[in-house]
Point group: C2
Chain length 91, copies 2
DNA sequence: ATATCAATATCGATTTCCGATATTGATTGT
DNA sequence: ACAATCAATATCGGAAATCGATATTGATAT
């Protein structure tokens, strides 16, 4: 569970997200993640029951939207707490 | 530059640190880092000029203390700012 | 000398990540 | 109807990071 996972869960809780949007979001915060890293992570998190997938047709293209699950929210809270612990150490 | 690096720089700024102490410190915060990961990182950060090494005899054993360098402080500040950016996103 | 002990170092195996390229699939133009 | 288009997603071989079990170090005590 790295920073990327936490961010995915966080945004997937606020609204439905999709891959390339998430890539752009992370890039804006200085995190250049490769698509070859992100997409497998999204799949894995779906299989693990942290995300729900819904396919939507947007401008004639299929886009896969992910939303957080109840289990994902639990994991997010745990990860948030842990990240905060670490962060307050160094701030 | 992951979280581990930031923590190393942070603690090496406050006081001289050594490998196994750092391992314990991270473990207490739920980060189980392998010695096989940490020691090469310390060496690398020394070569990169972020840490200064000083060997000391403690209870008849040689211990290698690391302190942050001026360059390391610069890097730490940058990393701290970036980490804060990311953290305030998810808090 | 040699046994001891914590700390440090090593290295082959595993896992994770990169990034260039391929694939997908509904729409548009002809 | 069919090919071209385009953004989004998927793939996969290579590179890099990490693991963890084991080896090494070196001053001290016996």
């Amino acid at each position: 569970m790295g920073f990327i996972h936490i961010h995915i869960l966080h945004h997937a809780k606020e609204e439905a997200i999709y891959g390339s949007w998430m890539l752009e979001e992370l890039r804006e915060h200085g995190y250049d993640i490769s698509p070859g890293t992100l997409y497998p992570i999204l799949h894995h998190m779906e299989v693990d029951g942290l995300l729900d997938k819904e396919e939507k047709n947007v401008n004639g293209k299929i886009r896969k939207y992910y939303r957080i699950t109840t289990q994902g929210e639990t994991i997010l809270e745990e990860a948030r707490t842990k990240a905060y612990e670490l962060f307050k150490e160094i701030k």
